[in-house]
């Protein structure tokens, strides 16, 4: 696929534009709200909600006979919400833990949804096309009216998130403190969960019930690597979500027999991988480099300290010591050659003769400081 025609399509082609706008919307909303789920260690709740939405979609279709997106999404939302309430109810009234309740509700709702779908498929009057797309998603099926629904729902969810920003922040970081301040934390919890249900419902047609959970978790998890501030994290997560949504949807729309859901998931996983490896401060690459630099510094310090000890024992700063002696003293550290070169560059050590090294006066002073600080620590 060439880049130029893709861009041209993006700007002028109706289907491409619809698909791109729709996926961007779903990415922004699920990324932003998913951040809270990630922070609250409820990443798998999205998995439960999205699977639980399936019977809602099928029932809405059976009851109304309409394939109107608003009706189906309403069914999905109600079922997803009911599933969440059931999870909470089971955990509160029995010894079943959250994880098990989640898995149970997820799989039972989904199974029931599949029963309903096979049931619909056998009805002579209806073609079930359209319902199948809700399993793995097909962004190419989006039309302008869908965009309006998605946009309205998404905007409402984001506005509410903005209005209750402070409350959601409290809920994510210190719910007990919030309770003590007199905020109704349970109500806020339900509100946030409802918004997450909305975010998931928006994405169902494009990404599908099976994989929508990834769009809740992954953008937030990726954004978390880049920043320690909530506002920035939510913004970045929205950006990552949109990026993954648009790229995945466009690729799947231009390749035949490629569902959007899996494609989007692969795009978002790449973003997560890059973030985990490369994000400044937290990224694995940087922490590895930092570790290497620390190790170097320790090696250099060890050589400096050894030279200082030798100078003190011999009572003579100017006397040179051979590199073999230093190597023997620093067994387990290694890198004596490189350390000496570095010390020479810093003007702390000088070469007194063939393979002999001694401290400069500055080096002696530095060694003394190092030694005494080490003593203090001990």
């Amino acid at each position: 696929m060439e880049f130029a025609p893709l861009l041209e399509n993006l700007l002028f082609d109706y289907t491409f534009r619809t698909v791109a706008l729709g996926s961007a919307t779903l990415g922004i909303v699920s990324g932003a709200l998913g951040s809270f789920a990630v922070l609250r260690r409820q990443s798998l709740l999205g998995d439960g909600i999205s699977h639980a939405a399936l019977p809602g979609i099928a029932l809405a279709y059976i009851l109304t006979g309409s394939k109107d997106q608003v009706v189906l999404l309403l069914g999905a939302g109600v079922a997803g919400w009911l599933g969440t309430l059931l999870i909470i109810g089971i955990v509160r009234n029995s010894r079943i833990q959250n994880e098990s309740a989640l898995g149970l509700v997820l799989s039972v709702f989904f199974g029931f949804g599949l029963v309903l779908i096979t049931f619909i498929q056998k009805r002579p009057d209806a073609s079930q096309a359209g319902l199948d797309t809700f399993l793995f998603g097909q962004a190419a099926t989006l039309v302008k009216n869908d965009l309006i629904t998605m946009g309205a729902l998404g905007a409402a969810a984001l506005v509410l998130m903005g209005l209750f920003w402070k409350e959601f922040k409290l809920l994510s970081f210190d719910p007990d403190f919030g309770q003590a301040l007199g905020f109704p934390m349970r109500v806020i919890d339900v509100l946030l969960t409802t918004l997450i249900v909305i975010a998931i419902v928006i994405g169902l047609q494009s990404v599908g019930v099976v994989l929508m959970s990834a769009m809740v978790v992954a953008p937030g998890a990726a954004a978390r690597q880049w920043t320690d501030r909530l506002g920035l994290m939510v913004g970045l997560a929205a950006l990552f979500g949109a990026l993954a949504g648009v790229s995945g949807a466009l690729v799947s729309s231009s390749v035949p027999r490629l569902s959007t859901g899996p494609t989007v998931v692969i795009c978002v996983s790449v973003i997560v991988l890059v973030s985990i490896l490369l994000a400044p401060n937290r990224g694995l690459l940087w922490s590895w480099l930092r570790e290497q630099a620390n190790r170097r510094q320790l090696q250099v310090d060890a050589v400096l300290e050894d030279l200082y000890i030798l100078a003190v024992k011999h009572g003579d700063i100017g006397r040179g010591h051979s590199i073999e002696v230093l190597r023997t003293m620093s067994i387990g550290h290694g890198g004596v050659d490189r350390s000496l070169k570095e010390l020479v560059k810093e003007g702390l050590v000088s070469e007194t003769g063939e393979g002999k090294w001694a401290l400069t006066p500055e080096g002696f002073e530095a060694g003394r400081r190092l030694e005494s600080s080490g003593d203090e620590e001990r």
């Binding site: 990630v38 260690r41 409820q42 990443s43 798998l44 999205g46 998995d47 699977h51 089971i90 009234n93 029995s94 010894r95 079943i96 833990q97 994880e99 098990s100 309740a101 989640l102 898995g103 149970l104 997820l106 799989s107 039972v108 709702f109 989904f110 199974g111 029931f112 949804g113 599949l114 029963v115 309903l116 779908i117 096979t118 049931f119 056998k122 399993l135 793995f136 099976v210 994989l211 959970s213 990834a214 809740v216 978790v217 992954a218 937030g220 998890a221 978390r224 690597q225 027999r257 490629l258 569902s259 899996p262 494609t263 998931v265 692969i266 996983s269 997560v272 985990i276 937290r282 694995l284």
Partner: protein
């Protein structure tokens, strides 16, 4: 019942029992969602192994899928250990990726492959009887039956031979580590078991419904069992009930068998959750109501006893007054008085409540303890 029907039910029951055994440990170790992750991720292993062997019934598929299951577990742990991602998020990141790769491979090569996304989600238990195992010209029944029986045997051998270790590592991981049992080995052994079981069940009921069978029966058993051994037995029995009732539900609705099994798992859990004697929601609320009434009845007799024979007795000991004095709603006061009269602790005499001999004794006992 035709032979085909009997065979389908046999396979279904076997799958359910096999899934429920490792499921018990998943529930107790709070790792229920791991079954979700593994059952999704093994799809990639199955597809990749299929591309290599070009044979959907090759036992190599089971091995490859089980390895993918273990890969999932270690990837989750690796991510978790970087400290950058919490465990729940790690699970939520790993399995959608592996599952997506599997789905894309299937759909890109659909047509050439005897695997489609419907089979991934629904399984093909209805066709299980038509795929038969023949050895030296003898018909040994459906192949799925043999495969699941072998996996069940493996599960049983593992659980029986490491029963003590599993029990210890599940209920007191710290003590297990101190005593020198490696929790890591037990953990990975269990995960391997879950993976192999999921692969076997995957063929029959599809990836997501494996989760229903792994979590549903053990979660139901957990509602009323207090011993590991009884929980294992109860889960297996509930699994059989789920399988048989699910099959017949599907038969009457003419719908997906695996979907109906998952639905039945949910219904049976729900019924147990509501009506299980002693711990069910209904029993608990009834007990709560009863305790409230008993407490109120004690309050009532103490109140009456307190004012008995004193000048204000007439005023204090009317039903109307209870509202004022004990802050009871009128309807509740009536219920408490009725409750106490049933037990012959009080009597009603022209609008007043007076203590009986028994009531007086009860009040004295409540005061002196």
């Amino acid at each position: 019942m035709t032979t085909v029907q009997i065979e389908i039910q046999l396979v279904a029951a076997l799958v359910a029992v096999t899934c429920s055994l490792p499921g018990v440990f998943l529930i107790l170790r709070r790792m229920a969602m791991m079954s979700d992750a593994i059952s999704h991720a093994i799809l990639l292993g199955i597809v990749l192994a299929f591309f290599v062997t070009r044979d959907i019934s090759s036992p190599f598929l089971i091995i490859a899928a089980a390895l993918t299951g273990l890969l999932t577990v270690s990837m989750v742990e690796l991510l978790n250990r970087t400290g950058l991602v919490k465990e729940d998020a790690a699970i939520g990141l790993v399995f959608p990726l592996l599952f997506s790769l599997g789905v894309i491979l299937i759909s890109r090569f659909a047509g050439k492959v005897h695997l489609d996304t419907d089979a991934v989600l629904l399984g093909e238990i209805a066709f299980a009887p038509f795929n038969r195992l023949e050895l030296f010209g003898y018909d040994l029944g459906p192949k799925a039956l043999t495969v699941m029986a072998v996996i069940l045997l493996v599960n049983l051998i593992f659980i029986i031979s490491f029963y003590k270790e599993l029990k210890l590592a599940t209920f007191d991981a710290g003590l297990a580590a101190v005593l020198g049992f490696s929790p890591g080995i037990i953990h990975y052994g269990l995960m391997a078991l879950v993976s192999v079981t999921a692969v076997g069940a995957f063929d029959a009921v599809g990836s997501i419904l494996v989760v229903a069978l792994m979590i549903g029966p053990p979660a139901t058993a957990y509602l009323f069992c207090d011993r590991l051994s009884s929980m294992l037995t109860a889960s297996a029995l509930i699994g059989v009930v789920v399988a048989i009732t699910g099959y017949w539900l599907a038969h009457f609705l003419d719908a997906s068998i695996s979907g109906c099994m998952a639905t039945m798992a949910g219904i049976i859990f729900g019924l147990t959750f509501l009506f299980s004697p002693g711990r069910g929601l209904v029993a608990m609320s009834l007990r709560r109501v009863r305790q409230r009434l008993e407490f109120a009845q004690t309050m009532l007799v103490v109140h009456l006893y307190h004012h008995e024979g004193l000048p204000e007795e007439e005023k204090e000991n009317s039903v109307e007054h209870l509202h004022e004095h004990l802050r009871w709603r009128r309807s509740f006061s009536e219920r408490v008085v009725w409750f106490a009269r049933e037990r012959e602790l009080v009597e009603r005499q022209n609008g007043f409540i007076i203590l009986t001999e028994r009531g007086r004794a009860a009040a004295q006992k409540a005061i002196t303890g």
